[in-house]
Symmetry: C2
Subunit: 247 residues, 2 copies
């Protein structure tokens, strides 16, 4: 059965996350409904990462199997005509039947946006964490460096995660100071549940002087969620891109 890979962006503000749930708007339910509208097939859409409620995507990858004859590249326009305006398909292409958006991913990249002023914050409430406190950015960047590399990241994993292993390799973890905006870019071979948001919350504690950057190493070594900072709000988080071997 042919398989279609989708690259998509969405404004997560009005959704209870990616994954289908009873009696809640989700990205998955919208996608599956749109596919049904086009092909009368009830399919299960799989995503590279299950974004939480309020989390956004610039390059989420999803896939589904279909028996229809619709050319792969036509799915983009067809789906966009049925999907709500806050979910847009950017690309659709045929992939091998064995393709799995999550398991086949080599790297995923997230970013976390912080808006640093009170003025105009009304426009960014749903698209960034609003934080106009003074932050020690140098300390935060130094904290980022302790996150790089292969570690057991259990300390940055929310309870209730079904993860079987906690080792992940973080390839990029860096802060970009863009004036009114602060942006965390983080790329890894995989992420634990809430990992980016807990890392962001911990970096913010460093920025406020409550943790020293070097403590990140101790927090990681502790393997204790309680040692890390709070989970930063969902609305600052964006799933930016997912890389696969074949691309």
């Amino acid at each position: 059965m042919p398989k279609i890979k989708l690259v998509m962006e969405y404004d997560g503000s009005h959704y209870h996350g990616f994954q289908r749930q009873l009696n809640a708007n989700t990205i998955q339910a919208e996608l599956e409904q749109a596919i049904y509208n086009i092909s009368r097939e009830s399919v299960a859409v799989i995503a590279a990462g299950r974004t939480d409620a309020g989390v956004h995507a610039l390059g989420q990858v999803a896939a589904f199997s279909t028996e229809t004859e619709i050319p792969a590249d036509k799915w983009r326009l067809a789906l966009n005509s049925f999907l709500p305006v806050d979910i847009r398909i950017l690309e659709s292409e045929a992939v091998s039947a064995s393709f799995h958006p999550q398991y086949d991913a080599l790297y995923k990249s997230y970013c976390y946006l912080i808006y640093r002023k009170k003025e105009r914050a009304v426009f960014f409430r749903k698209y960034a964490l609003i934080c106009d406190q003074q932050l020690d950015l140098e300390a935060m960047q130094s904290g980022c460096n302790h996150i790089l590399g292969r570690h057991d990241f259990r300390c940055f994993c929310a309870s209730g995660s079904g993860a079987k292993t906690w080792e992940r390799t973080v390839h990029i973890c860096s802060l970009a100071d863009e004036g009114d905006w602060l942006k965390l870019n983080i790329t890894a071979d995989g992420f634990l549940y809430n990992m980016v948001r807990i890392i962001m919350g911990t970096l913010l504690e460093i920025g406020r002087g409550r943790f020293q950057p070097e403590q990140i190493a101790d927090i990681i070594a502790s393997c204790q969620r309680s040692q890390a900072g709070p989970t930063a709000a969902p609305q600052g988080l964006y799933l930016c891109s997912v890389r696969y071997p074949q691309i």
Copy 2:
């Protein structure tokens, strides 16, 4: 009775405009409710410009009279604690009892934002006009120049306006090409109903080659709304600032 002047910003997405209406969320109703919560006074708030449904403000000015002893500068924090998060008071100060936010205004400045790409448009739907067509920006800028100065602007006034005179002086009318964004900045001694949106709609027709820039002069001379372009969507419009003689 002391009078308080407010400078405020709001995300107009969820409101049916500034002006109070029966059975509809409006900025005015939220303000008056917040004032009532603080002072138990039923006041009428007057604004510099009555923004329409979906239109935003970065520097709307409003005023109300109060008999309470609350210092003028404390109203900002007090109101912000009662107002919804998409309406924020930036400044509050005492003004003379005769101050009128609309009649006393020397100039008002609006801007109109256009987002020019498909990608990431999901995040800007409510905050800009999305338009990824090719536009002749030079022609549009040339069209802007014909709008400058004192004219009878009836052609850019929506029907149903209660305006008594149609002459206004436009001091600034210019387009800024900011990569993915196109921004119209317009400053005048006053604006007719829907004037900025109709000007934007007309400039877009020029950008698409449907009107020549020089036609703006004929459109203005015609005094006919039907000669101008369509009314651009509300979500791209921002009331940026209002200037008064005393400031």
